[in-house]
C-alpha cells in the first residue's frame, strides 16, 4: 500500500484521538467513583443497579413495617401478662373463698376485690397504645368494650390488621378483643367479663357450690387462663416471626448493597492501573507519532 502524507497524518490523529478518549473515560470513572455514569456505559449493569436499588427500597420499607409492628406486639404481650395476673388473682380468691372456713362476710369483702379486678379487666380490654385501641380489631379508633349488666359489650370487629413483613409474609399485629376477652370463635371459649361478674355475684350471695357458684367459676377461670395463654403463645410466635424476618431483611440488605456497589462503583485498583497503562500508551503514541511525522526526504536533499 502506498503511504501518503495525509493518510499518515490522519492515522496519527486517529491513534491519538483513541488513546485520549480512553484516557478520558477512565479519568471520568476515577473522578466520579462510579463505573456507570450514564446508561450507555453499561446498560445491563445500570438496569441491575436500578433493580437492586428498588429492592433495597422495598427491604427498607419491610424493615420499617416490622419496626412499627414490634412495639405494638410487645405491648400486646405485656397486656396479656397483666390479663394473666388478673385471672390468676381471681382464681386465688375463688379457691380461697370456696373453703368452708370462710364466712359470708369474708366473701362479701372478697367480692369487693373481684369488683376491682373487673374494672382492671375492662381497662385492659380498652388498652391504648399510640392512640390506637389494641383490642378493637379494625375499629381501633374507639374503646372496644363498654360495661354491661353481667359482663361487657364488644363494639369492635374481628379484623386482623396485617403488616407486610417481607414480600411473602404478612403478620397480624392485633388480637380481636371479642376472641381474647369473650372467647368468641374460640373452641370452648370463656367470657372473662361474665366470669368475673358471676364470681362477684356468687361471692356477694355467699353461693359456693350452688348453680353458678364460686366452684363453677374456678373451672371457668381455669379455661380462661388457658385461653389467654394460648393467645400469648400466638403473640410470642408472631414476635419471633418478625424478628426472624428482620434478620433476614438485614442480611439481604447487606447483600444488595454489596452487589450494587460491585456493579456501580469503580474497582479502584483496576481503574488506577488502567489509567497508568493508558497514560503510558498515550505517551508512547505521542512519541512514535513524532518520529513518524518528523523525518522527510527534505531533510536529506540539501
Amino acid at each position: 500500500m502506498r503511504v501518503t502524507n495525509q493518510s499518515l497524518s490522519a492515522q496519527v490523529q486517529d491513534t491519538l484521538q483513541q488513546a485520549l478518549r480512553r484516557l478520558n473515560e477512565t479519568q471520568e470513572q476515577i473522578a466520579s467513583g462510579k463505573r456507570i455514569n450514564r446508561l450507555s456505559d453499561d446498560p445491563f449493569g445500570a438496569v441491575r443497579a436500578l433493580d437492586l436499588n428498588s429492592l433495597g427500597a422495598s427491604l427498607d420499607q419491610y424493615q420499617k413495617n416490622i419496626d412499627a409492628a414490634l412495639p405494638v406486639l410487645n405491648q400486646t404481650d405485656s397486656a396479656l401478662g397483666q390479663l394473666n395476673d388478673i385471672l390468676t388473682r381471681a382464681k386465688e380468691i375463688a379457691v380461697q373463698m370456696a373453703n368452708g372456713s370462710m364466712s359470708a362476710a369474708d366473701r362479701v369483702s372478697a367480692a369487693a376485690e373481684v369488683h376491682e379486678l373487673s374494672a382492671r379487666l375492662l381497662s385492659l380490654g380498652n388498652f391504648r397504645f399510640d392512640n390506637r385501641y389494641l383490642f378493637g380489631g379494625f375499629a381501633n379508633g374507639a374503646a372496644p368494650f363498654t360495661p354491661a349488666v353481667g359482663g361487657a359489650t364488644y363494639n369492635g370487629d374481628s379484623g386482623a390488621i396485617n403488616v407486610q413483613a417481607n414480600r411473602s409474609t404478612t403478620v397480624a399485629l392485633n388480637i380481636a378483643g371479642d376472641a381474647l376477652f369473650q372467647g368468641v370463635g374460640v373452641v370452648g371459649g370463656t367470657d372473662l367479663f361474665a366470669t368475673l361478674s358471676d364470681l362477684e355475684t356468687a361471692l356477694t350471695g355467699n353461693n359456693v357450690s350452688g348453680a353458678n357458684g364460686v366452684t363453677t367459676q374456678i373451672g371457668r377461670l381455669d379455661s380462661g387462663l388457658d385461653q389467654v395463654s394460648a393467645f400469648r403463645a400466638d403473640i410470642g410466635a408472631r414476635i419471633e416471626t418478625l424478628n426472624a424476618a428482620h434478620q433476614g431483611l438485614e442480611a439481604m440488605q447487606l447483600k444488595t448493597t454489596d452487589m450494587r456497589s460491585k456493579i456501580e462503583d469503580v474497582d479502584a485498583i483496576k481503574v488506577y492501573s488502567d489509567f497508568a497503562r493508558l497514560q503510558q500508551a498515550f505517551q508512547a503514541a505521542l512519541e512514535s507519532s513524532a518520529r513518524v511525522v518528523q523525518p522527510s526526504i527534505l531533510d536529506f536533499i540539501k
Binding site: T4, R38, S54, N65, R132, F138, N140, D157, I301
Partner: protein, 467 residues
Amino acid sequence: MSILTSLSIAARAMQAQQEAIQTTSHNVANVATPGYSRQQAVLSASAPVLEGRLLLGNGVSVTTVRNVVDRFAETELLSRNAALGYADARSRALSGVQDAFPPSGGVMSALDAFFNAWSALSNNPGGQAERVAVVNAANNLSSQFSQTRSLLVESQYTLDKDLNAAVGNLNSLLTQIADFNGQIAATEASGQPANDLRDQRQLLLQDVSRLTGATIIGGEDGQQATVLLGGLVLVSGDRAATVNADTVGVSGFRTVSYTSPNGGLTFDASALFSQGEIGGILAMRDTEVPNMLGRLDQLAKTVVDQVNAQHTAGFDLNGAPGVNFFNPIGAVAGAANAMQVNAAVAADPSLIAAAQAAAGAPGDNRNALAIAGLQNGVFAALGNKSPQDYYLALVQDVGSEAESADNQVNFQQSLLSQAQARRDSLSGVSLEEEMTKLILFQRAFEASSVLVRTGDEMYQTILAMVR
C-alpha cells in the same frame, strides 16, 4: 535539418519538464488540501518521424494532466459517509435521550417511594401523617413522569432544530454542486479533464452523502452529472433541487419539502430521507423517541388505572366508597404528562381509601395493602410485567440503543478511516514521491539544456566550416 530537430526536441523537452515540474509543485502545494487527488503530467514520446530510411524519435510532450482517482474508492467513501452520518445522528440524539433515564433516581425511585408509602400507610391506616405521605409520594411520582416525558419531548425539538440546520446545509451543498457541474462541463468541453473542480465537487458530494446517502451518476465524457437519492433527483447537471425544512407538519415537527431541479414539482419528501444524518435525525425524532414516549405513557396510564381501580374498590376513613385517587386518564398518548392526584384527595387525605369495608374503621388497612401490592402485580397492559419491570425494560432498551449507537459510530468511523486510507493510498500526495520526481524532472531539464548548448555548438562548428 536534424540539428534543428534536435534543438526543437530539446526545447520541447524543457517545456515538458517545466510542465511536469509545475504539476509536481501543484501536488506539493496541495499536500494538505482535503479531497485533493494528486495529478500526473502524462509524458509521452512524440510521434516519430520518418527521415529517409530511418524512423527517428521526436522527443517528448505532456499529452494531458490527469488526476489519479479510483472510482470505486470514491464511491466507497460516499457510502461510508452516509453510514457514519446516520450512526452519528442517532448516537448524538440518544446521548441526550438517555439523560431522561438516570442510572439512579428518576421514575424508578418515585415508583418505589409511591408503593412503599402505601405500605407505610398500612402500618397506621388511620394516621394523618401517613396519608399525607402517600399524597406527597404520588405528587412526586407524577412530577417524575412528566419530567421524564418533557426531557424526551425536548430531545425531539432538539432533533427538529438539527433537521432544519442539516436541510439548510444540504440545500446550499446542492447549489454548489450544480455550480461545479456547470463549470466542469464548460472546462471539459476543451477536451482536458477539470481535475481540481472534480476534486472539489467530490468533497461536496461526501458532505451530501453524509447528510442523505445520495450518490452521483454520470458526469463522464460530457455526460450530465446527476445526484440521486433513491429515485429523487437532487442535482441534475447545473440545476439543483431546492430543499427546506420550513414547513411544520401535522405532528408539530418540520418536514423536508422538496422542489425538483426544474421547479416543476414540490412535495413533502421526508419519507424518502432514510439514510445519512437526516435519515438518522428523522428516525430518532419520528420513530424511536415516540416509541419511548409511548411506553412511558403506557406505564403512567396503567399505574393510574390500576391504582384507581383498587382505590375505588375500597373505602375511605369516613366509611364512604373510595373516589379516584388520580384524575382518570383517557388516552395513552400524553399520559405521563397527565398523571395528577385527584385534587379532592390531595386536599383531604382522609379520602384515601385504605379500608376494604364500609365500616369507617381506622384500623382497616386491607385496601392500602392491596394498593402497595400492585407493585408486584403483572398487568396485561404492560405486557404481563410489573410496573417496575416494565420501566426497567424500557431503560434497558434505551441504554442498549445508546451503547450500540456509540459502538456503531466508532465502527463506522473506522470503516470510513479505512476507506479514506485506501483512497489516499492511491490519490494522496506523497512528498517523498514528489521530491524524487522533482529531482528527476530537474535533471531532465538540465540535460535538455545541455542538448540545446550542444546543438548550438554544432551550429557554430558548421558555421565555422564555411567561413
